[in-house]
């Protein structure tokens, strides 16, 4: 039998149904008599609702905040001192705070009819001046998103290093201003909810495309004043999450309420326009960053003022504080320096609430610090990779605590960078740059290196005072009467392949063939409570729990097996799905048969828990695992059009012990594709009135097959000392590195024309503007 356990690149079990088009997503569920929902959404960014007018013909099919008066708003408070609370009503009642906010629910037999009704509803707004730009939001007399606050600041974080003395004497001082764009996450499947009342089980059942069914259950119970036990949340196959489905959605609460009100199943499926115009909810940061270094490019101190546009409300359960907190704590990255000052603010604006997108805050901070490393390199006159090598944490320093108190668990960061430099072929590129490209394009190479703190646990997140703090992750493992293995977990795969990888973990311990292992997830009815799948945690946490439970099960099975073999438990071991003694073995199927069907064959001291184990797990240290990677990009810029082509892309990734390297490659490639989108294409800009300017895919571009190069993924494997098998979280890193690597590559290319760019995305206009500005600067310098 080919290897199937931890480390084997087996094909994904779930792909059999996905590739045959037999996946079951929310939209695939059919309920007789189900009605369809369309929402009336706010058309203004900031205003008071004077009146919602519903034509007589549609009375009874339209519900407003007035009807939902018993429903509690969503509150995602944190216990952090100074955090200002926002209260997000399910339907806007007095005030709307962003374009796309829910104002009314319209229900009809078909979606088209529901949209007809929504079109007929008129909302009378008293328009207020919106606050659209996060920097403007902090100016005195800016309009207030939440009047009672007195300003627009959710919270501010400080890292207060005493850098002043070094700042005065440092040989190199470089400052850059960097802006990243607000964009959409754009999973292939949008959000969707189907709600119905299950009279037999006494459940309000929500079928929702979510990454965290239990959190939705908890949140809906809270808002509607129901018991958790009377709500069942099913998350079926989910077509991508990326954080977009890692929250309690207002739509989920609204549909749950509606199902109970109208008595039939009701369904809402997000469409592309809703996604674009009401949910551009990630990545918008601003940095003013200054680095101080010695003549040789050694970083002495870092000083940064960062702003995160957190939008109008705090989202449950991550809160609006998360992103800014991450910025301040992650900015130093894998660099070893001792003086750090950072102020990062989460600012409220009249835009939709920010959500933690794959690689929360990291792609922005990675861009900021890597741009500044390049700036140091320019000033010091040395290769950018060399500056990084001089500043990276070295393997002999591990375990290492950086200036922001992040505790690195191991790895060889300089080696990762050196391998990327070799793989991209730096000397040959420098030679090619000297010769120039025959087609006149400008060639550039860039590097980014970063760490990815995954599976952050109680130790990290309790301190942030969030409404939901992850703790022990549980898994239930059961040997069925026919000897198959059934695994139930509370995490949920939305593309990660957990049906395969969790089975691989169980196989590693029990040796049951993968075809005979079923992983069940995505249903609060049968899975243990979990905060769900987010933050690169599932493999470490749920994988750890499956390992734990499998070992306990192995012990129980061994005892029965030993009895059947007429030997001592100490003399048997589990191998290839059997209990193996000296010279004889008995299959787990026979063990299961004894427990379930032939109990007369059981040992007298058999464990009464039988062949079903629920075990909880958290790593010995749950400060998070530290995966890391170097990204290297080779780009060519067409100076006539400003278009950028990625000619080569290398990722050198260390994700600890890899459970399924093929799936990890997919994670890295998919993440990198998204990072390329962040860097080159994706943005929703807003006009002065807070109107999002992209509402169709004509205006909003995501990378496709032609924009994503072949990504060469090279692996290093430094096991974590703290987790099962040494696994580390690996889900997000791919999306973190590309903006920094590509911007550095572009700036390397633009060096030839005296230009530099720092604002995302790198549109042709921005590139051409930079080239023109470079030309003007050269003109004025000329005597």
């Amino acid at each position: 039998m080919a290897r199937q356990g931890v480390g084997a690149s087996v094909l994904r079990k779930e792909d059999d149904r996905f590739l045959r088009g037999r996946g079951q997503y929310v939209a695939d569920f059919r309920f007789p008599g189900a009605r369809e929902v369309a929402f009336v959404r706010s058309s203004v960014a900031h205003g008071r609702i004077r009146n919602v007018h519903v034509p007589d013909a549609h009375k009874g099919a339209v519900f407003t905040a007035h009807d939902l008066s018993n429903v509690k708003p969503i509150r995602a408070a944190t216990a952090l001192s100074g955090f200002k609370h926002s209260s997000e009503p399910i339907l806007a009642c007095d005030k709307v705070r962003y374009v796309g906010e829910l104002v009314a629910i319209c229900v009809a037999a078909s979606r088209a009819q529901a949209e007809d009704i929504a079109d007929s509803v008129t909302v009378d707004y008293e328009e207020l001046e919106p606050v659209v730009d996060m920097l403007a939001a902090r100016r005195p007399h800016a309009p207030l998103v939440h009047e009672e606050w007195g300003d627009n600041l959710f919270i501010e974080f400080f890292q207060d290093g005493a850098i002043d003395r070094v700042a005065e004497t440092a040989a190199i001082k470089v400052t850059r201003e960097i802006r990243t764009a607000r964009h959409c996450m754009f999973p292939l499947e949008g959000r969707g909810v189907l709600a119905h009342w299950d009279a037999r089980l006494g459940f309000l059942t929500l079928i929702s495309a979510t990454q965290m069914p239990h959190i939705v259950q908890r949140g809906v119970a809270e808002c509607l004043g129901l018991n958790d036990g009377s709500i069942r949340v099913i998350s079926p196959d989910v077509g991508g999450g990326f954080g977009y489905k890692g929250l309690l959605c207002r739509e989920e609460v609204a549909l749950a309420w509606l199902a109970m009100r109208v008595g039939t199943a009701v369904r809402w499926l997000e469409d592309c326009r809703e996604h674009l115009s009401a949910n551009a909810n990630c990545r918008e940061h601003h940095y003013r960053i200054t680095a101080y270094a010695d003549r040789d490019g050694r970083l002495l101190a870092l000083d940064c003022v960062a702003t995160v546009d957190a939008g109008a409300y705090s989202v449950y359960p991550t809160s609006s504080a998360l992103e800014a907190a991450q910025v301040a704590s992650l900015l130093p990255g894998p660099y070893d320096f001792s003086l750090y000052r950072c102020r990062s603010a989460a600012v409220a604006t009249n835009k939709c609430p920010i959500l933690p997108y794959r690689g929360v805050a990291r792609s922005g901070v990675c861009l900021a610090i890597e741009v500044i490393m390049d700036a140091i390199a320019r000033q010091a006159g040395i290769e950018p990779y060399e500056v990084r090598l001089r500043n990276l944490v070295r393997p002999e320093q591990m375990p290492f605590e950086n200036v922001a108190k992040k505790q690195f668990d191991g790895g060889d960061y300089p080696q990762s960078l050196r391998r990327a430099v070799a793989a991209i072929g730096l000397p040959a590129i420098r030679e090619r740059q000297r010769k120039g490209e025959p087609d006149g394009r400008l060639l550039g190479v860039g590097f980014s290196i970063f760490c990815e703190q995954g599976a952050m646990g109680t130790a990290v997140l309790a301190g942030w005072g969030r409404p939901v703090v992850p703790g022990y992750e549980q898994a239930a493992v059961r040997l069925t009467a026919d000897g198959d293995l059934e695994i139930r977990v509370g995490t949920h795969s939305h593309g990660q392949g957990h049906e395969t990888t969790l089975a691989q973990v169980a196989h590693e311990i029990l040796g049951v063939d993968l075809d005979r292992i079923k992983v069940l997830q995505g249903d609060t009815l049968y899975s243990p409570f979990s905060t769900g799948t987010w933050g690169s945690r599932s493999m470490v946490m749920a994988g750890g729990a499956v390992a734990q439970a499998s070992r306990m099960l192995a012990k129980r099975a061994s005892r029965i097996g030993a009895w059947l073999l007429q030997t001592e438990p100490a003399d048997v071991r589990i191998a290839n799905g059997s209990v193996v003694g000296r010279g004889a073995s008995v299959t787990l199927r026979e063990v299961a048969r004894a427990w379930y069907l032939q109990p007369q064959n059981l040992p007298p001291d058999v464990d009464e828990g039988g062949l079903e184990v629920t075990a909880g797990y958290r790593p010995a240290r749950d400060m998070g695992t530290f995966s890391y990677a170097t990204h290297a990009a080779l780009v060519a810029i067409d100076p006539g059009t400003g278009l950028i082509e990625i000619l080569d892309y290398v990722v050198v990734e260390d994700g600890g012990k890899l459970v399924n390297p093929m799936i990890v490659d997919g994670q890295v490639q998919g993440g990198t594709a998204q990072g390329i989108g962040t860097c080159l294409l994706e943005a929703v800009s807003f006009d002065a009135q807070g109107q999002p300017l992209a509402s169709t895919m004509l205006d909003y571009l995501i990378p496709g097959a032609t924009e994503v190069p072949d990504i060469r993924v090279l692996h290093m494997e430094t096991p974590s000392p703290h987790t099962e098998f040494g696994m580390k979280g690996i889900g997000e890193g791919g999306a973190v590195g590309p903006p920094a690597a590509i911007v550095c590559a572009v700036n390397d290319a633009l060096r030839a024309v005296g230009a530099e760019v720092h604002d995302l995305p790198l549109t042709p206009e921005r590139i051409l503007d930079a080239i023109a500005a470079g030309a003007t600067a050269r003109e004025t310098r000329r005597p």
């Binding site: 278009l643 294409l681 571009l701 549109t763």
Partner: protein, 277 residues
Amino acid sequence: MKPTNFEFARATSLGEAATILRQAAGSARVVAGGQSLGPMLNLRLVQPSILVDITAIPELTRIEEDAGGVVVGACVTTSDIEDGRVRVEELPILATVAGGVAHRAVRNRGTIGGSICHADPAGDWLPTLCALAAECIVTDGRQARRIPIDQFVTGAFEVMLEPGELLQAIRIPRPSRTARCGYYKVCRKAGEFALASGAVLLDCERDRFRAVIGATEGRPVVVDDARTILGGMPQPGAAVRLDQSAANELLQRAGLTAPARLHITALARAAAQAMAT
């Protein structure tokens, strides 16, 4: 994103289509491939009372070649052209341009006539056919009239069709054997609409040098005598000599508010293609 209610009719003759259009008095929309109209319906940007499907009208899928050129029926798809169903030796540009329109799935359904009537400035057929000095054959079901394509298009998303009229075919004149064409567009990603485009016809034998700048904010900018902005009648193989300020002025006059540099690049590169031997 669901359309409002509409009626649907599938016409089998030009006369029938024209009658329905006339009776609907402006609230009808013609649908052929539906590649632009479909999304517009779903976004409720158009809310017609009736859709008239013209793809079952036999004349509209015909391709007729004669000494003077080729007449391409309005419902000939872009894939048809890409695959060489319109095979005019002097016009290899047609297949080249077709192959660059959006994605194959769009080309399979999208028609040349639909693209012209939709008159999206960022489309590919409009600037190309303007450079080739094509004519639109418009019918009211009884009589046909011929309108030069650069006059047929009156603005962004606007064409010269009276209620009851529809585009029947496009007539593309045959250039001389030595003629060369160029088409260049600037897109942020493959298959997307162009940010800027340029199309050039260089037919030295007939002393024709025609240039078009597309993807403007209005109708394409057509320069019937491109010698004025491209430094005289070029010899094949010569370098492009684009008068940037003249091109810029043309674009400003045409109402372009964005910087013209991408358009100028597109035109220069289209010209370079046409002038390459």
